[in-house]
């Protein structure tokens, strides 16, 4: 045995990471100080309003703005003519690649309105009332066309076609005619027929979900200003200031250096604020008027003109042996993309069977355009939809086999070394550990009251890394400032400060985290994909580690010792040279105070492209009770188990899990876009689009399983998205338990449940 082998691999005990300090931005948020998108006002500011299509599908014959322009107080009017007509080009800047032409035409319709609420023109005026009056004075001549919203109707041969240039990609042969089917994707392995031939038990189901909205409480809002020299400034609430900068530059044909974006506080996003709607328009209005322009959406605009996620049809067929081993799985997914291609069916396909170790499977996904708002990312985009189908079918399979649903998932579950259905081989995953924790949780064995039902479902999300920048600066008094380029959507300032404090050996309170504007920090991908604590946290940690190396060097200079004789311990340089006994540790504050003697200000910046984000798995248990008179389903108990890697701030990890569950329960039970025969959304408000309220939910119990991710300095995995994946099926499986009947179509709203009860 050698000394090297003896060296313990265990990290020193953590002092800050894993604790639950008050978040640094908390006081501003409980006192009303925190400034969100709509809270900024500039001198001389105009108010911008958008003219929107009243039709779901119409050719724009003409737009006459003369009367509007003549109205006193109107300072600018823009239409698609004020934006460059961009060519089709895929561009990576949001959560996934966007086509710049589509993005531009979603911001401002060019020749056709593709959904009710599609922007056609915009006005800036000296007051909101004048801007609204001017919007009403804009005269648009339409040629109304037949529309299509249902995904299967849009795929049918004679459906109204949204885009004459859209030919299905991914087929064996290029189709002869354009259609609404943008793409077919396929994942397969083994021999499906052979797999089903081996099966002794087969279950099949066809499931549907409706479009649902992210439902962030803060509507989109921005203030934009463009000066006469072409320098643009944007203050906006979003998931990524660099995303806004890129998209505004592309849509307006500007240089990136000419736009500076300062992130406002963000009032919820869940993926829905990973693209632009207002910002390029407000910049164009400001350019024309010479004054700053503020734009704020109404809630109706948010529902009708920003991205919900897809409504979908999911078909699942599973075959298994009598002892529960799955021999074949076939999944077909049809997702609405809204007005332009790009539904999350790709991710829905890749995640659909990610929890299962399978020899034979085929997953087919269809991306379909429809006359509804272009979908945007929504928390684990695509995954809850496919999981709803697969996990419902798994529940039916467990019932048919008379097997415990968790045991069935354990038997077929992925583990380290298994090649995932979507390609890579799993390492350091905590799925089986999570299943075990769920099985052993008191909830799972608690008796149900008469009329109640219990459901179990699992879910998976990749989690991503990507490009991030962080700077850490040591202040003259030994405190520190951490700057990153990622909007803090749910507590990331806290986790950034904690990681820096841990490395520097400072108490959390001595580290102030900020979210910097695009001119003050290096490029960072947006806050999304559950990447911030992992990727940006890695940049923060590495910057702090660079500072520690520098601090040891500086202590060496002050002590006249080589740096390798110095260790950084508890926020101070400690001399390791036994001959210098009596040399007291030199704290950070002392080194900082003498920084001029050792090379000047102390700071470090790290820009990286983080790789190795650990995928996350969740196992949920849900109990429901059904009011047989009204058909109302109440969730009475809910437990969510998740492999979180290492919880940096456990309270905010729990919060992510609880919030994801609540959104999933809303999706399962009440939320849906309801369209009338003319393609108008009938419920574009929180009264009729029913998100869960406090009295709808019980406490949501969370269990954090910690299987560390070795690629992150503290073992973190992304946590924000996994928890919305299982609830749709967990609720539906619980309803199946309570009713004795499988319901296939979300939401399981009172009228549908009541109809099932009536038919019993």
């Amino acid at each position: 045995m050698t000394d090297v082998m003896e060296k313990p691999a265990v990290k020193p005990e953590l002092k800050v990471v894993g604790t639950r300090p008050v978040r640094p931005d908390g006081v501003d948020k409980v006192t009303g100080r925190a400034a969100y998108g709509a809270d900024l006002a500039l001198p001389g500011m105009l108010i911008g309003k958008i003219k929107r299509s009243p039709h779901a599908h119409a050719r724009i014959v003409s737009i006459d703005v003369r009367k509007a322009r003549a109205l006193p107080g109107v300072k600018a009017i823009v239409t698609a003519d004020d934006f460059p007509d961009l060519a089709s080009q895929e561009y990576e800047a949001g959560e996934s690649a966007s086509n710049l032409r589509d993005l531009s035409q979603n911001v401002m319709a060019r020749s056709k309105a593709l959904y009710k609420g599609h922007a056609l023109a915009a006005v800036a005026a000296t007051s909101a009332a004048i801007a609204q009056e001017a919007v009403d004075l804009i005269e648009v001549t339409y040629e109304v066309m037949p529309h299509v919203i249902d995904v299967e109707a849009a795929m049918a041969p004679h459906a109204p076609v949204l885009h004459d240039h859209l030919y299905t990609e991914g087929l064996d042969e290029r189709p002869k005619l354009p259609s609404n089917i943008a793409k077919r994707n396929r994942l397969e392995r083994g021999d499906l027929d052979e797999g089903f031939a081996k099966a002794e038990v087969i279950v099949e189901g066809r499931y549907t979900t409706q479009a649902v909205h992210q439902g962030y409480i803060e509507p989109h809002a921005c203030v934009c200003s463009m000066s006469e020299d072409g320098q643009g400034q944007v203050w906006a609430s979003s998931q990524g200031q660099f995303m806004i900068r890129t998209y505004c530059a592309k849509i307006l044909g500007l240089e990136i250096a000419d736009i500076r974006v300062t992130p406002a506080e963000i009032g919820g996003g869940f993926g829905g604020k990973t693209t632009v709607y207002l910002e390029p328009v407000a910049l164009a209005l400001s350019r024309q008027s010479g004054a700053p322009v503020k734009m704020v959406m109404s809630r109706e605009d948010v529902f009708e003109a920003t991205g919900p996620t897809s409504g979908a049809v999911i078909q699942v067929k599973l075959g298994a042996t009598r002892d529960g081993r799955i021999t074949a799985a076939e999944v077909e997914l049809k997702y609405q993309a809204g007005a332009f291609p790009g539904s999350p069916v790709g991710a829905g396909s890749m995640t659909a069977l990610a929890c299962y170790d399978l020899e034979n499977f085929r997953i087919t996904g269809w991306d379909v355009v429809t006359n509804s708002p272009k979908v945007a990312a929504y928390r684990a985009p695509g995954a809850p939809i496919s999981a709803f189908g697969v996990e419902s079918a798994m529940d039916d399979l467990a019932r048919k086999l008379s097997m415990d649903p968790i045991a069935l998932r354990e038997l077929n579950g992925v583990r380290d070394g298994v090649k995932a259905a979507y390609g890579p081989t799993f390492h350091n995953i905590g799925y089986l550990e999570s299943l075990k924790a769920a099985k052993e949780h008191p909830h799972y064995s608690a008796p149900l009251a008469p009329g109640q039902g219990r459901g179990v479902a699992v879910g998976f999300w990749f989690n991503v890394g990507g490009e991030s920048t962080a700077t850490v600066h040591v202040n003259e008094d030994g405190g520190a400032v951490v700057a990153t380029g990622n909007p803090d959507i749910g507590g990331s300032r806290a986790s950034m400060a904690m990681m820096a404090a841990e490395v520097l050996g400072l108490p959390m309170e001595k580290v102030r985290p900020i979210v910097a504007d695009t001119a003050s920090i290096g490029f960072s991908m947006l806050t999304g994909g559950s990447r911030t604590t992992f990727a940006t946290g890695m940049a923060v940690t590495q910057a702090a580690e660079k500072i520690v190396v520098d601090l040891k060097r500086r202590a060496g200079l002050l002590w006249d010792l080589p740096a390798d004789q110095i260790e950084w311990r508890d926020g101070a340089a400690v001399c390791l040279d036994p001959s210098k006994e009596g040399l007291r540790p030199m704290p950070l504050a002392a080194i900082a105070a003498q920084s001029a003697k050792t090379g000047g200000p102390i700071g470090a910046e790290v820009s990286l492209n983080a790789q190795g984000a650990g995928p996350g798995f969740g196992v949920h248990i849900c109990d429901v009770e059904i009011d047989r008179e009204t058909g109302n389903v109440s969730v009475v108990r809910y437990t969510a188990v998740q492999d979180v890697g290492k919880a940096i701030h456990p309270a905010y990890v729990e919060g992510q899990i609880q919030g994801g569950v609540a959104q999933g329960v809303g999706w399962a039970l009440n939320e849906e876009y309801v369209f009338d025969g003319d393609g108008q959304m009938e419920n574009p408000g929180f009264l009729d689009y029913r998100v869960p309220v406090a009295s709808d939910l019980p406490m949501i119990d969370t269990v954090m399983v910690e299987v560390p991710n070795p690629r992150h300095p503290f073992g973190a995995k992304g946590v924000g998205e996994v928890p919305i994946v299982p609830p749709l099926a967990a609720v539906a499986n619980a309803v199946r338990g309570a009713l004795g009947v499988r319901m296939h179509d979300l939401p399981l709203s009172p009228p549908k449940v009541r109809a099932v009860i009536d038919a019993l």
């Binding site: 008050v22 978040r23 931005d25 908390g26 006081v27 501003d28 948020k29 409980v30 006192t31 009303g32 100080r33 925190a34 400034a35 969100y36 709509a38 809270d39 006002a41 009332a129 992210q214 439902g215 962030y216 409480i217 803060e218 509507p219 506080e265 963000i266 009032g267 919820g268 996003g269 869940f270 704020v296 109404s298 809630r299 959507i489 749910g490 507590g491 701030h649 309270a651 905010y652 729990e654 919060g655 992510q656 609880q658 919030g659 994801g660 569950v661 609540a662 959104q663 408000g685 929180f686 009264l687 998100v691 869960p692 309220v693 406090a694 009295s695 709808d696 939910l697 406490m699 949501i700």
Partner: protein, 164 residues
């Protein structure tokens, strides 16, 4: 356009005066005329509660109240909740329990929660959930919010007993 009306009211204990159009909501007047942007507009239709304020001691959605209705009346907003540099126990408990994520609904929830505890210092969990059912939060699933409110209620009752 009709001329603006002169309004005198009391906001967070201080006399204020402002001009407002007949159609302007109290929420817009607070935000745009008085620069009190703590109350938020999440819906403009009284469904989300982010604009909650107290009007003469009654919890209202300020987006459903006209600014002219504030004449001669008492308005309390989130900006008046902390006193003399001291957070209200509800604010403190929201922080300790991590009862906020994005924070956009937080001002409205705090105003509504304070109204609850003023009216009912010892609510059951169910009572707290129904009282706060008019305040939407999309981030937290309400779990930590309810815990913070119940914890603050317990602390406030304890403080009352000490005073008594």
């Amino acid at each position: 356009m009709s001329k603006r009306t002169h309004i005198s009211a009391t906001v967070n204990g201080d006399p204020v005066e402002f001009l407002t159009a007949p159609s302007t909501t109290l929420l817009d007047a607070l935000r745009d005329e008085l620069q009190l942007t703590g109350a938020k507009e999440g819906c403009g239709s009284g469904d989300c509660g982010a604009c909650s304020v107290m009007l003469d001691g009654r919890l209202v959605c300020s987006c459903l109240v006209l600014a002219v209705e504030a004449e001669g009346r008492r308005v309390e907003t989130i900006e008046g909740m902390a006193e003399g540099g001291q957070l209200h126990p509800l604010q403190q408990k929201f922080l300790e329990h991590a009862a906020l994520q994005c924070g956009f609904c937080t001002p409205g929830l705090l105003v509504a929660a304070k109204a609850l505890l003023d009216a009912n210092p010892d609510p059951t969990e169910t009572e707290a959930r129904y009282w706060l059912a008019g305040n939407l939060c999309r981030c937290t699933g309400y779990d930590k919010i309810i815990r913070a409110v119940m914890d603050a209620a317990a602390d406030l009752r304890q403080a009352q007993r000490v005073i008594a």
